[in-house]
């Protein structure tokens, strides 16, 4: 073939002598409308189920069947009204949502990046705990000048998470130990070590007998916009998302990570080191989860100071991060949106609890339902058949679809 002919375009007539086979399916890499539609639908369904739960778990409504319609409507409207109010109803509420979202975004990025390398990182929790421990330690004991102390604290926390995650990658690469088992176990180790450290004189607040640390210095606290909860941590989370996007889509490291994740055999045959890539991916994932822990340790509460280090410092960030990564489909932008959504749900949930006397745990149920419906798109299209037309309309056969 001496042809310097241009690539046959899908619609262009084939150059003489060439008989292009019919264009292959699935080149459509445009905006994922279908995914968006399913996600929105999953939302609506989750809120419907949530409403039913609220109504049928309230003895007051059930004991007065004659006012059922009125009471049920009132209940749902007041609860969801409070939820919306508390999450996006005011500038204050919106910034509270971003504050809640910041650690979720960081953790979700960590889980998602590991996913892309074919690794299921259940260890976000342990990695975040190390991030919190080291950031807080620098924050309450080093007393460095302004800016410097904050930078050092952030770096220390990120490094802590990176080491804890990298350890998993190293164990897997050297010994073949499965990352799921190792990360789960290391979660216990990290939680246990945190508990132990809080009983030592280096960490325990002088004069206290319960496991709690001194308050983090003002110099190590994320600065926030006056009168709001929008703090530097949220900016760092967005920057982390951009960095992860660049690594995954514009760097050789990400290229290798994705190749190893999608087909380790082909990656090895192409000369990539699967072991090295595993260690790198887990180190990066740990660093991101560590940043989530840093957020927990240095992010200001409404009172202005961060929560001091305690056993529950990171809450369930590491596990919520898995949910966020799932909803965000392990893509940086998706993870940011999912993190914001869950942050808003969390912030709104607090308002719902205090105003509408609906337990905060309902938001947890909502989160779980949303992810469940997203993970089961077949279920959504079954429940909402009008979406099915859209799906077929995109002409995307399933990956197993039989095109010889």
């Amino acid at each position: 073939m001496s042809g310097t002919a241009t690539v046959p375009d899908s619609g262009a007539p084939a150059p003489a002598g060439k008989q292009p086979t019919a264009p292959p399916p699935r080149a459509n890499r445009g905006f994922p409308w279908t995914e968006l539609a399913t996600t929105v639908a999953a939302f609506v369904l989750a809120f419907l189920v949530g409403a039913l739960l609220m109504i049928f778990s309230d003895p007051k409504i059930l004991s007065q069947p004659q006012y059922f319609g009125y009471l049920a409507t009132q209940k749902v409207v007041s609860a969801y009204g409070a939820l919306i109010d508390g999450s996006v109803g005011s500038w204050q509420a919106i910034t509270e949502s971003t504050a809640q979202a910041a650690p979720l975004i960081c953790g979700g990025l960590g889980v998602g990046l590991a996913f892309r390398a074919g690794l299921f990182n259940i260890g976000g929790q342990g990695q975040a705990i190390w991030g919190a421990i080291l950031a807080a330690y620098v924050g309450f004991s080093w007393h460095l000048p302004p800016v410097v102390q904050l930078v050092v604290a952030v770096i220390a926390g990120v490094l802590g998470g990176a080491v804890w995650g990298g350890l998993v990658g190293w164990l897997k690469a050297r010994t073949g130990a499965h990352e799921v088992i190792v990360t789960i176990m290391l979660n216990y180790v990290a939680a246990g070590l945190l508990g132990y450290l809080l009983t030592t004189s280096a960490f325990q607040r002088p004069g206290r007998t319960d496991p709690i640390s001194p308050v983090v210095d003002w110099n190590a606290t994320f600065p926030r916009l006056a009168g709001s909860q929008l703090h530097l941590g949220f900016v760092l989370a967005l920057l982390a998302a951009v960095a992860v996007w660049w690594i995954l889509d514009r760097s050789t490291i990400g290229f290798t990570i994705k190749a190893v994740g999608a087909n380790p055999n082909a990656a090895a045959t192409a000369g990539m080191s699967v072991a090295r890539t595993t260690i790198i991916a887990m180190t990066l994932a740990g660093a991101l989860a560590g940043l989530a822990g840093v957020q927990a340790a240095l992010g200001p509460t409404t009172g202005g100071t961060p929560v001091p280090l305690s056993n529950g410092i990171v809450g369930t960030i590491g596990f919520d991060a898995i949910t966020v990564a799932l909803l965000g489909r392990s893509r940086p932008l998706g993870t940011v949106l999912a993190g914001l959504l869950f942050g808003a749900l969390h912030a709104g949930g607090l308002a719902m609890q205090s105003i509408a006397q609906t337990p905060l745990t309902l938001t947890t149920v909502l989160q779980a339902l949303i992810v469940m419906f997203v993970a089961a798109p077949m279920l959504v299209t079954k429940l909402l058949p009008f979406l099915r037309g859209r799906r077929v309309g995109t002409g995307v056969p399933s990956s197993s679809g039989g095109l010889a």
């Binding site: 073939m1 042809g3 310097t4 002919a5 241009t6 690539v7 046959p8 375009d9 899908s10 002598g17 060439k18 008989q19 292009p20 086979t21 019919a22 264009p23 292959p24 399916p25 699935r26 080149a27 459509n28 890499r29 889509d249 514009r250 760097s251 050789t252 490291i253 290229f255 290798t256 994705k258 190749a259 999608a262 087909n263 055999n265 082909a266 990656a267 090895a268 045959t269 192409a270 000369g271 990539m272 080191s273 995109t394 002409g395 995307v396 056969p397 990956s399 679809g401 039989g402 095109l403 010889a404």
Partner: protein
């Protein structure tokens, strides 16, 4: 187990399966365009076409795995709707898939009752009896209690056939059944299919191998780009069939000049041994020299150490003894990355598994093993523009048929996927090229092209090693032939060695003895014929 000997039945509704105007679209792609097909009892209907021509789509429609957009299916004149494999089975249609639909950890009998449990109790005794009866009738020698994963591929395929026969399928579809078989197994399968035909079943045989078509077909329908482009007589020449299939005349022989083997060998293998994962030696004490400018083909029945040898040369499989030199540099202790950097090109046997990342685009796969080098990377940053530009060149040069360079490779046909792999390896200066089954599952038109490229690589001065189980390919390409059996080199023979001798050597007979045996048997045969 009744057969349908009613060929002589009343003429009104002709027996058989008829497809009229079958159309199947995937988005803008028309995979099947108004296809008519008659499948008649007691005949073998060969469906011939390149990869991606729409053969398998048509059969998946017929078997209820896909729903047609237009068209009608009739069985014995009665219109039927086939919405699922279950309905296909009820209509008497059975399918032997290219990739077997068997549960590996179940026994033969258990696989037989799968999907036909009917009620809470499994009638395993009956299933075993059915396996034995059918197996005896067709000479299958299948043990009902054998676990599938312990069986050789050829026997697994018989289990698939048994499954269809247990359903009393009148119409049997074989989707590229010989792709996974050795030459001997292929011969046995052909005999089985003929006996099924002779008892009145209708056979659809999908393939792109011309030799098989000529051996089997009663009727030939050729499909190209989703359309029936013609029918052919069984006696038609291979060249004519290839032309129909590809749409232009195809050169089935490889034109190449005499090899130019001067100077020192570029690849030197000494005493190389590889131990398999179970501790058994799979490559034993292999010595091999390959010069620049020659093609050495490694022939042998699959699973005789060729693949392990190739992977040991790349370095993805550890070597237990011996050494390898590339242009005088010992490479035994180097990583695959370092060997690739020294100019080692590698085409893996299983392209799906080792050759490319299916979810990656054509452009990304074209730089898969040199993406970290300039000009594709600067520092750790990717030069996306350079990668795309390179891909556009390669796609044009290798005539890779793809919608764009951003299309995922998994969406391409097998032949084009293989072109992506070869284009990647040949887009940089090579010292040694190791190609394992470079044309497996690739259609005739693409084979012609890939062979020409491999010869061009040889003429550029590269030492080319080709591992192939296809004797046709070995004979067409080789300057020298190395025959392997049981992990050892049985002998190294010139390219003009006869098929008989190569066949005997592949069974482990030494070169001298094979030539003597072949000489005498040929005489015997000649006597019988005359």
């Amino acid at each position: 187990m009744t057969t349908q000997p009613d060929q002589t039945a009343e003429p009104q509704p002709a027996p058989g399966l008829r497809l009229r105007g079958m159309t199947k679209r995937f988005g803008s792609l028309v995979a099947n365009d108004a296809i008519d097909l008659d499948i008649e009892p007691g005949r073998i209907h060969c469906l011939l076409g390149e990869n991606g021509a729409g053969k398998s789509t048509l059969m998946n429609v017929l078997y209820g795995l896909l729903q047609p957009d237009e068209g009608e299916i009739t069985v014995d004149g009665e219109p039927v709707r086939i919405g699922s494999p279950k309905q296909a089975m009820a209509a008497g249609i059975g399918m032997v898939h290219q990739h077997f639909m068997l549960v590996d950890v179940f026994t033969v009998a258990e696989n037989l009752v799968l999907g036909r449990e009917g009620g809470a109790l499994l009638d395993m005794r009956r299933a075993r009896r059915t396996v034995r009866e059918l197996s005896d009738r067709y000479g299958f020698a299948v043990d009902p209690d054998a676990v599938i994963e312990d069986l050789p591929v050829g026997v697994q395929q018989r289990v698939e056939i048994l499954k269809a026969l247990a359903n009393d399928a009148r119409f049997l579809i074989f989707d590229e059944p010989t792709a996974v078989l050795t030459p001997q197994e292929t011969d046995e399968l052909i005999a089985v299919i003929k006996s099924l035909r002779d008892e009145g079943r209708a056979i659809v045989f999908i393939t792109h191998k011309l030799r098989e078509v000529r051996e089997l077909a009663d009727t030939i329908t050729v499909i190209r780009r989703g359309k029936v482009v013609g029918t052919a007589e069984p006696g038609e020449s291979e060249a004519k069939l290839a032309e129909l299939m590809v749409g232009r005349s195809v050169n089935l022989t490889v034109a190449k000049a005499a090899p130019a083997t001067e100077g020192d060998p570029r690849l030197v293998v000494r005493g190389l041994s590889v131990t398999g994962p179970t501790g058994v030696p799979v490559v034993r004490d292999v010595d091999l020299d390959v010069h620049g400018g020659e093609i050495v083909c490694i022939a042998g029945v699959q699973g005789n150490g060729q693949t392990e040898l190739a992977e040991a040369l790349l370095g993805t499989v550890p070597v237990s003894a011996g050494g390898v030199e590339l242009d005088g540099t010992p490479i035994t202790r180097l990583t695959p990355r370092q060997r690739i950097d020294l100019g080692l090109g590698f085409v893996p046997e299983d392209r799906q598994r080792d050759g490319f990342v299916g979810s990656f685009s054509v452009a990304e796969n074209l730089v898969l093993n040199h993406v970290t080098e300039p000009p594709y990377a600067s520092g750790i940053g990717l030069r996306v523009d350079r990668i795309r530009a390179e891909a556009l060149d390669r796609v044009a040069e290798f005539d890779i048929r793809t919608q764009s360079v951003d299309t995922p490779v998994s969406a391409l046909s097998g032949g084009n996927q293989q072109k992506v792999v070869l284009a990647r390896e040949m887009s940089r200066p090579l010292a040694v090229m190791i190609a394992n089954q470079p044309t497996r599952g690739v259609d005739v038109g693409a084979i012609e092209f890939l062979h020409a490229r491999l010869v061009a690589e040889r003429d550029r001065g590269t030492a080319v090693v080709i591992v192939s189980t296809e004797l046709d390919e070995v004979i067409a390409l080789a300057d020298r032939i190395v025959v392997m059996c049981g992990g050892r080199i049985v002998g190294i023979v010139p390219a003009n060695t006869s098929r008989e001798v190569l066949g005997l050597m592949m069974a482990g007979v030494s070169a001298d003895e094979a030539m003597r045996t072949a000489a005498t048997t040929t005489e015997d045969v000649n006597e019988v014929i005359t």
